[in-house]
Structure formats: C-alpha cells, structure tokens
C-alpha cells in the first residue's frame, strides 16, 4: 500500500441499505477526513478525525457515521442510504501539526443510491 486506498471504487446501492466505505492510509498521518463531491458544490466535509480515538462533524454529517479505532483506518458508514447520498466520496489524510499541511487524497468511491 502506498498513500491512501479506498474501497470499493464504485457501488450501486438500493435505498435503505447499509453501506460502509473503507479508507486506509499508510503514512501514519494523525488527521483523516471524509468529503463528498457534488457538481457545483465542490468538496464538502462530512466527518473528520484529528487523531485516533477522536472524531468530529463536518459541514454535512447527517446520515453518516465514522469511527477511528486506529491510526490507519477511517471507515464511513451510511446506516440507511438515501438517493441524495449519491455522490463521489473522497477520503483524505494529513499529518496534522507541522509545516507541511497538505492533504493527501484517496482515489474516491463513486456511490449511486437508487
């Protein structure tokens, strides 16, 4: 593994189903993030984690939950998917503190909820 991996790459899901999007990073970054990207709206933060064991709500958290049991993994769960959650989802990480504060992004998951 190099950088950030996301799974699945794409998924079609029936409304009402539960879905977990997986995200793993191997850079030992403290902070991790989940965004959704929708046309004309840019990237909107769903949830974030400053360090393992802590999580926080972003701009659009409703309908999503996250956990951060360890440094490397940050799964995003849709408890009961709805069509408005159709989007491209990006996981990202950053070192947190330090002078190089860029975010590194995974390849994204395209989710379609029917």
């Amino acid at each position: 593994i190099a950088g950030i991996t996301q799974a699945p790459t794409s998924q079609i899901l029936a409304a009402g189903r539960r879905m977990t999007l997986r995200c793993t990073q191997d850079m030992r970054h403290n902070a991790m993030y989940w965004y959704r990207q929708d046309l004309g709206l840019g990237l909107r933060l769903i949830h974030y984690s400053n360090t393992a064991g802590t999580t926080g709500k972003g701009e659009v958290p409703d309908g999503y939950s996250v956990s951060r049991a360890n440094t490397d993994d940050f799964p995003l769960t849709l408890a009961s998917a709805v069509p408005s959650q159709t989007s491209v989802y990006f996981c990202a990480s950053s070192a947190g503190r330090g002078s190089y504060n860029e975010q590194f992004f995974g390849p994204g998951t395209r989710l379609t909820v029917l």
């Binding site: 403290n30 902070a31 993030y33 965004y35 004309g40 709206l41 840019g42 990237l43 909107r44 933060l45 974030y48 400053n50 926080g56 972003g58 491209v88 990006f90 990202a92 950053s94 947190g96 503190r97 330090g98 002078s99 504060n101 860029e102 975010q103 992004f105 390849p107 994204g108």
Partner: protein, 117 residues
C-alpha cells in the same frame, strides 16, 4: 466561520497562453494556509501549490504561481505556458494555522479549466 469562494465556474485558455484563476476567502485569523489542488479527469486530487499566510513572498512551482493578497483575502493561481495536461478542475482550499488546534480544510466550489489546442 471561514469561507472560500471561487467565482469562475469555468475558464478557457489557449495552449501556451497564461490564465489566472481567482479565489477569495473570508477569515478573521492571521495565521492560516492556502492551497490549490488540481483534479484531472482521473478524479485524483493533486496538490499544485501551497502558501503560508505569514510568508510575504508568493509561492511558485514551475509554471504555477500565486498572487497572495492578504489584506484583500485573495489567492489567485496563475498558470503560465498552459499545456493540454493542465485541463482539470481546480480547487482553492483554506486551513487554519496550527495554533487553532483544528485540521479542517475548507474548499471552494472549483473552477473547470479547459485548454484549447
């Protein structure tokens, strides 16, 4: 709350010409970071350039440079000698400084750049 605004949904530039993408932001902080990310059709987000607010000098990376106007809260990206491979969606992003204790990034809505051959 901080906001980032990209007022140009789409821009076009002729190959080999120069183009400037606009970004403005709103913050009451004095210490923060600004970024430009590129998203080509592959969907992968790629860092183009970063700027620390406390640095007066504008950042440059090869053909990419910024015009950072702190008082005006403006952070535009200039692409010189545009190439076909520069065609992508460009996102401006803001992050508060380390003293804030938060590592959240705020993104603009993006500017789609088309490069004409």
């Amino acid at each position: 709350a901080q906001t980032v605004t990209q007022s140009q949904p789409e821009m076009s530039v002729q190959e080999a010409e120069t183009v400037t993408l606009s970004c403005t932001y709103d913050t009451s902080e004095s210490d923060y970071y600004l970024f430009w990310y590129k998203q080509p059709p592959s969907r992968q987000m790629i860092l183009v350039i970063r700027q620390e607010a406390y640095k007066q000098q504008n950042a440059t990376e090869n053909r990419f440079s910024v015009n950072f106007q702190k008082a005006a809260k403006s952070f535009s990206l200039k692409i010189s000698d545009s190439q076909l491979g520069d065609a992508a969606m460009y996102f401006c992003a803001y992050r508060r400084g380390p003293a804030s204790g938060t590592y959240k990034y705020i993104f603009g809505t993006g500017t789609r750049l088309k490069v004409l051959a």
